[in-house]
Amino acid sequence: MPVNSTHYLFLSLLLFSIGIMGALMRRNAIIIFMCIELMLNAVNLLLVAFSKIYGDADAQLFVFFIMVVAAAEVAVGLAIIVMMYRKVHSVDINILNRLKH
């Protein structure tokens, strides 16, 4: 069976689900961030696949903007994680439940 849109749908769904599982399973804040990057990349892959199928450049520009937002998010998020590490000397997200008190 030649590669078609269903293959790309399944592949990016699989990568997205792995990202979700990682974000739910791990307690290290940095690993959770990396899982979010993985989910963003799964979506990017699907957008490029549909851009190829329909011969439209708009989807590739959306991928471009997703990369922009991801880069900005990583810069701010890692700054927050470094700040948290400086305060509590850990990147364990369970420590953050103190915020509710």
């Binding site: 792995i18 851009s51 590739q60």
Partner: protein, 181 residues
Amino acid sequence: MDIYDILFWFLSALAVACALGVILSRNPVNSVMFLIVTFFAISGHYVLMNAQFLAIVNVIVYAGAIMVLFLFVIMLMNLNADVEPQKGQLVQLAGVISGGVLFLVILASIKTAKTEYMDKTATDIGLITNLGKVLFTKYVLPFEISSVLFLSAMIGAVVIGKKEDAKPPSKADEAEMKQFL
């Protein structure tokens, strides 16, 4: 089965295996390395789909810049497998089950999607000439807004990451300064 299909299956297997490596490895540095390989596999997919510019940007921005930032933070904090916080078995099982249920639900909903066959001949929509034309005509406003987003993200990162040692001048300091004036 032509070369396109073989490359597709190879890159897909590589991407999924390394994505599993990201979430399963105990050492955060290994996770970063697995994620870099995943990004390279996804870039390979982009090349396969004639999105050469995005493939290069993916390698430079994601595998190059963002992952180096992650690695830098991990090494700054000196994280390794020994200090890695672990969730309980029950919570991990719950995570896997909820992720798997999400996978099954979306799988069931896209199973009946119409199959679109790909035209595997080379096109030039992914080349930088074409993308630049669309970016600077149709999407010029989002492009400018994203520059403002970057500026605010940069300022935000600097403000958040700043050390809090620089205290505001206290009453005593002000009195001391008045003596000099």
